[in-house]
Symmetry: C2
Subunit: 159 residues, 2 copies
């Protein structure tokens, strides 16, 4: 295994493990619990789940892997802060999306070679990328794993 | 910049940004707030700060960078769950340690070349490392950044 392959494995392993943590945690939280605010006045569990699905859905665009699966989640879970009056999918539906999404993203990720991960993502121009080659697809996984862990720490407090 | 250098930059940039997030957050939280439980029955802010310092201190050992700076934090902040009866340093002292530690670690990290990050860390044997070359020093930064983000998400709820 060369250093490029090793780097990609380290980053994708951390993503996979974080997604497994999310799955395990959601299996331990009831629908009623997920409707609670984690701390009074802060996000509810349901919002964080929808937010994570929406942010991960946007990775498809950034990684040039095709259309979003759940574009309807952008408005309630990214554009809008948590609000009990926002129409949202049911927790049952969100749980299903989390499971489908992790399989779907894994299939997409598996198609890339180690070198492919060092290509530019779609939110950077070719000119920018030439001087900043770290703005590659691998970086998207690194920052999204970081974001996922941040919210996992919060969801964990519902247990 | 080759792919090895790019990978190391991506990982260290994420660590640096996460440490900056911690600094900014702590500057926004009063000592009184940090003495509160984030959620009733869960860790207090003071515990999470001590825990992060202790975990980051242990990176020196794992990365073969010399002795721990704050070995006295292992007992109250890693071995023991949060407990108001545990003797702990003051929040003033912990804030000072966070600042000193980030400078100290950065100095140590800066001494390594990109290739050095692909050497084995000290908690893996040479035999294990030969078959699992991803258990390298860079991986320590990836997992500790993940851990830091997890607790940053929790500390953020004190705001």
């Amino acid at each position: 295994m060369n250093q490029t392959e090793t780097s990609v494995k380290i980053v994708l392993d951390r993503w996979d493990a974080s997604i497994k943590n999310l799955d395990a945690l959601l299996n331990n939280l009831s629908d009623a619990t997920l409707l609670r605010e984690i701390v009074p006045g802060k996000n509810r569990g349901i919002y964080l789940i929808g937010h994570l699905i929406a942010v991960h859905d946007d990775m498809l665009r950034l990684l040039d892997m095709g259309e979003k699966q759940y574009p309807e989640l952008f408005e309630p879970f990214i554009k809008t802060p948590d609000n009990v009056n926002t129409p949202m999918p049911s927790i049952t539906d969100l749980r299903k999306m989390v499971n489908e999404q992790s399989v779907y993203l894994k299939q997409k990720f598996d198609k890339l070679s180690a070198n492919d991960w060092y290509e530019k993502h779609t939110a950077v121009t070719t000119e920018e990328f030439n001087s900043e080659p770290h703005r590659n697809k691998l970086n998207i996984i690194v920052t999204r794993t970081s974001h996922l862990q941040y919210h996992l720490g919060q969801l964990q407090l519902l247990k």
